[in-house]
Symmetry: C2
Subunit: 376 residues, 2 copies
Amino acid sequence: MPVTIRDVARASGVHISTVSRTFSAPHLVNPETRVRVLACAEDLGYRPNRAARALITGRTHNIGLIIADIANPFFPPLIKAAESQARHRDYHVFVADTNEDAAAEEELVHALAKQVDGVLLCSPRMSNSLIEQLSREVPLVVVNRQLAGLPCVLMDVGQGARSAIEHLAGLGHRELALLGGPRGSWTSREIRRAASAAARAAGADLTVLGPNPPTETGGLAQAEQVHRAGVTAVLAYNDLMAIGLLEGLDALGVRVPQEVSVVGVDDISLSRLTRPKLTTVATPTAAAGRTAVDMLLQQDTDLPRTTRGGGATVAVGVRRTTAQVMLQTELVIRDSTGPGPYAGRERPGTAAAGPGPHRRADPGNPVVAAGDVVAS
Amino acid sequence: MPVTIRDVARASGVHISTVSRTFSAPHLVNPETRVRVLACAEDLGYRPNRAARALITGRTHNIGLIIADIANPFFPPLIKAAESQARHRDYHVFVADTNEDAAAEEELVHALAKQVDGVLLCSPRMSNSLIEQLSREVPLVVVNRQLAGLPCVLMDVGQGARSAIEHLAGLGHRELALLGGPRGSWTSREIRRAASAAARAAGADLTVLGPNPPTETGGLAQAEQVHRAGVTAVLAYNDLMAIGLLEGLDALGVRVPQEVSVVGVDDISLSRLTRPKLTTVATPTAAAGRTAVDMLLQQDTDLPRTTRGGGATVAVGVRRTTAQVMLQTELVIRDSTGPGPYAGRERPGTAAAGPGPHRRADPGNPVVAAGDVVAS
DNA sequence: CTGAAAGCGCTAACAA
DNA sequence: TTGTTAGCGCTTTCAG
């Protein structure tokens, strides 16, 4: 039933290799033959079998996308952008969900390795050394994790956390808390590092609570702790946790932002819909997805996979280019942050309202323009 | 570099066909040989190449998942459940996003057809006849669309819409509006049909506004119309639109539920987070994903794909079983609905508060238990 | 129970 | 420019 190259060859009266060439190297075939073959292919509804093709070319034209949790609203825009970008370049995307489980990540990379030309590892939870090891099995691009020898797409959450803390300190908050993210998260460490430094610089205390699951429940569960700790402002690992915290504080009768200010990270679409609307550090998720795919496919074109004869695969020359791209983040000030107990004191210039609200601007297409290359 | 069946054969001193059997028909191989082969495979890190295998078996062990819009929060839980269920059964999932575009759907089915054993079409926008035609190219399971000859997973939004309208009428609303969904959506038609009938039965007027894009913006854009139409209660095609409407009404200074009641459909996680919390018809998205995958794989096991000799593919006997599964929905009453102008009049028994709030219960694993088979 | 051989759909030398 | 041939990694008859 499925129509193969042979059917087309028969129909157009040429050898199958001519049909093959018509699709994979059209310039090597006589224009007249080409149109005839194309016509036959068309009305037989022929489509090359990519898997069969992959067997010999070594390129599947598929990529893998490994995601910690598809249901976490942070990821869908990234998935969508990655899939769209991949498809524009004639690649298809396997999507796999690991449920935030490091072991599942490893297994998935193995399972997908032979079926794809490369894998995007998004917010991985496994160790750096394991990632490096896996990268010898299949080309990898890592999102939200910095690794020396590998191409990475990073979001500058450090800068974001700093802005958030400065915003809060500027509003007169001195007792701050940080709701940490999950164990193994590079993002969580970055936020913690930057937030601690910024708090110190601003002469504020920062209590770290966590690690926590990066979910609404995770935030909700810490509401009482936050309340008891007597802090007046909280930075959460992500918006989901911030929203959970909002709910928890509401249940405890704590008013936001009058008694406690809350800042999230990500700017998921939900954050404009809570009451109060969430102040948050916007991360360019869609751009990250596009960029990561670009980097993976770039690498893919650079690296010849197979050489005929002997069946041995020979890595020809080209060393992997391991650019690391850092995408900018931006503090979006909404309604969940307000003046703290020291407002107007000690830092007169900045205490009033902070800078005017920013709107998140999702960067456009170009890879390099989307961020700064921090290493290569 | 990639280790093949031949490497394992060499290492364990047997013929490649024995290695092959060790993996695809272990019972046909001497236990002692088997363990030896397995051991060699293990420490060489051998994994069968599924694409090569597919070439001869006719089964790729992949499925395709075609989604109108990954970023629409309705879909991620479905994708997650489908991917998880597929993987449990040793299948991988291609995910593709169509941006609500019917033409893209068709192209994607073609593009994926050869690489998968079947495709899940979720909330398709293309015509029934086209879907039927495509189903001759690759096994299809359709979610949120009813088609005579094809396996479908449906959610009983008709019942849901009826409950919603009855709930509103019971609260004393007589002037109702329906925000319709996108053109080509079966769900939208079902809701409209059921809502109209229920309104008529309750002696209420129902103004239909639409079609609309199934997004927050789509709902927001209709706020003024709703206000101007003078209705006191609105049923929206989905939660996203309902939430947009909430925002729009808020901007117009219209209070919910005091002046206008709003009901959504889907019960996306967001709906518990808006203020007021959204009353909505919960749809069992995760169960739909699982069920659809089950039906697809069931079909896949039923339908032998290839027969050796002559290379012709022969459909052997078995007719496709085209069960249609209808999953239950449930009205979840929260804070966006309240008494209307006729509260307490004319229908004394029901006007007060309606039935107590329900919590959405996501049905468990089993396919058939998850709903009623309405046809087969 | 195991080996030999053919071939899935396709591409890539090599010859003509 | 086209046909011939070998073979990608694997499964599956068919003999032995």
